[in-house]
């Protein structure tokens, strides 16, 4: 990845009436990187994308493209193209005409248009689909046409707004790999918006975790997963047990009534902190050998492992283990120093990381989010 910055957002604020969608956001995007804006519905990720695309003007702040301020530059003059959530293919045109739409607007010679179209359809594995009608394509194929159409005009930056949201799981996984390949092959910047943390982790060079109009953390997928900055990030990315703790001194902390060695330092003595332990980092041991002791309250088979909820002094932990434990068993837990991650207290402390109210159904409900409403103003009711 090169270090030159292609997009720079400075002090961006956007509000719709009383509802502030972005609060003083600063973000630098490097050339040729795959950057993902990740967050729950309404966190401002789509708004950020639309500011970059030129569809929304920020109320405050500046947008720079390669050092030049581009506030007020309309979308059609930006070297940026978008894959829309519902693809927005033109239903009155066939596949070929959709792909060459942008090229025709540029009045390129017919030979060049043909050549680019062939190249693009090959890139997205849609050779031979030229004459097909958009309505006769499957969701995945429409997605590919949208990608070909956006890439045909050779953008410097491709914006992707939850592009895989409408596809089924299998297809989504395939497309993730394919998108990543395309990005690496073409060597252009991808700015990707999603609420799916797994998608973000597996594709991105950089992840920007957002909530409530604020950037919570920017980092590589490993950083974000291993060193979450606050309880929100820890909870949103993967599963986390987040307990209240005290940082006794450097390398020593205390939680759940026990002292633990850890790798973190730089906190004030006896500072109140949030402690994160990932479910897969906890080892199940016999009760007498456990650093913590608890009772298994539920067990779910997940294929790769069993997912257990363990009651430790009234706080419910999630533990993933390949060894089966029966419901009601007393077990001991062993936690390595490097499995413990200490975070400063934040506004999110105490809101996440307790599995006492955990249920699969609830989790699914909260994940099945609707598209962000800020862009749906075009959908009006029928006459």
């Amino acid at each position: 990845m090169e270090n030159n910055i292609i997009f720079d957002l400075k002090n961006i604020t956007v509000a719709y009436g009383d509802n502030t969608v972005l609060k003083n956001l600063n973000l630098s995007i490097h050339d040729r990187e795959f950057i993902t804006l990740l967050g729950p519905s309404g966190c401002g990720k789509t708004t950020t994308l639309r500011i970059i695309g030129g569809f929304i003007e920020p109320d405050e702040g500046e947008v720079f493209f390669e050092g030049k301020k581009i506030n007020g530059v309309p979308p059609y003059k930006r070297q940026v193209n978008t894959i829309f959530q519902r693809y927005a293919l033109f239903p009155h045109l066939n596949v070929y005409e959709n792909v060459v739409f942008g090229l025709r607007l540029r009045h390129l010679p017919e030979k060049e248009i043909k050549e680019t179209a062939r190249e693009m359809l090959e890139l997205v594995n849609l050779k031979g689909f030229e004459k097909r009608h958009i309505s006769s394509l499957s969701g995945g194929q429409q997605q590919r046409v949208a990608i070909a159409r956006a890439l045909a005009v050779k953008p410097r930056v491709l914006l992707l707004d939850e592009p895989l949201g409408a596809l089924d799981l299998k297809l989504r996984k395939d497309m993730q790999v394919e998108l990543k390949n395309i990005q690496q092959r073409l060597g252009i910047t991808f700015i990707y918006v999603t609420h799916d943390q797994e998608e973000a982790l597996s594709m991105s060079d950089t992840i920007v975790v957002m909530d409530n109009g604020l950037i919570q953390q920017i980092g590589t997928p490993e950083d974000i997963y291993n060193e979450p900055r606050n309880a929100f990030v820890a909870d949103f990315i993967g599963e986390s047990n987040i307990v209240d703790g005290i940082m006794l001194k450097d390398l020593y902390c205390q939680f759940s009534g026990q002292r633990f060695e850890c790798l973190d330092k730089g906190f004030a003595p006896n500072e109140q902190v949030d402690v994160v332990v990932r479910p897969e980092d906890v080892d199940v041991v016999p009760v007498e050998k456990g650093m913590l002791k608890g009772t298994v309250t539920s067990v779910t088979f997940k294929g790769v492992h069993y997912e257990m909820i363990v009651d430790i002094g009234g706080f419910k932990w999630m533990i993933q283990s390949t060894d089966y434990q029966a419901e009601g068993d007393r077990i001991g837990l062993y936690i390595e120093p490097d499995a413990i991650h200490i975070m400063k207290k934040s506004e999110y402390s105490g809101m996440f990381g307790d599995y006492s109210s955990f249920s699969e159904e609830y989790e699914e409900l909260s994940n099945a989010e609707e598209p962000e409403d800020e862009e749906n103003s075009g959908e009006e009711e029928d006459l």
Partner: protein, 273 residues
Amino acid sequence: MNRRSSLNSKLTVSPYIIWAALFIIAPLFFVVYYSFTTSAGDFTLENVQALSKYLPTFLRSIWFGIEATLICLIIAFPTAYIIAQKTDKIQRTMVMLVMLPMWMSFLIRTYSWMAILQDTGIINTFLTKLGIHPVHMINTGGAVILGMVYNFLPYMILPIYSVMAKLDYSMVEACQDLGGNRLTVIRKCIIPLSLPGIVSGVTMVFVPSVSTFYISQKLGGGSFDLIGDVIERQFQQSYNYNLGAALSLVLMILILISMAFMNKFSDEGEIVI
């Protein structure tokens, strides 16, 4: 399908079949029958041959119809576009305002235009008061077309609006995104996507404009006879049902041809929204 359910389905559709037979097929049959018979009921081609006399009237009707349709389209397209951009509440109000004149009788609306356009009408009284020379407006071709545009404009606005209101705004954004400026967006995206609305609007304005009567009598002062007026006279004054039917038949065929033409248009740009 067993016999019972097929009987049931026949029974269910029978009212519609009777309705269609009574009110669509029978009248059509009579139009054709009268067209090719004398008043005594004998077969004749006289009525059809007599039509050549009305060629100028036919041409004028078609020409006026085309003009009125085009003017309606020019007014309606931007109007529908503007309405569709507004919030739901404003949209509803504006659509109601568009339909409001339709709540009044066609007759009254046309009479009002007489009062407005007359040499001593509202506009000219106003102009005279301002010291401007009055303009002769009533009894001109322009007044007839104005009457058609006024009366049929809602039929153009509403179908275009309803297509535009359903238009996925991300299409517009996609067009901008790919390099389309405002004009391109309208030309390459909004017009083709609104085509079904335009086609039905054009049909719904052109057909009544071509066949209209009364407007030209009142606003054209009798010097701009349209085919609808001629047909009306055959039935109401001359009691020449046979010639009237022949005229109607030709008008019907003309309308069918133009509708087929318009449908071909919309088929080519078939749109699923």
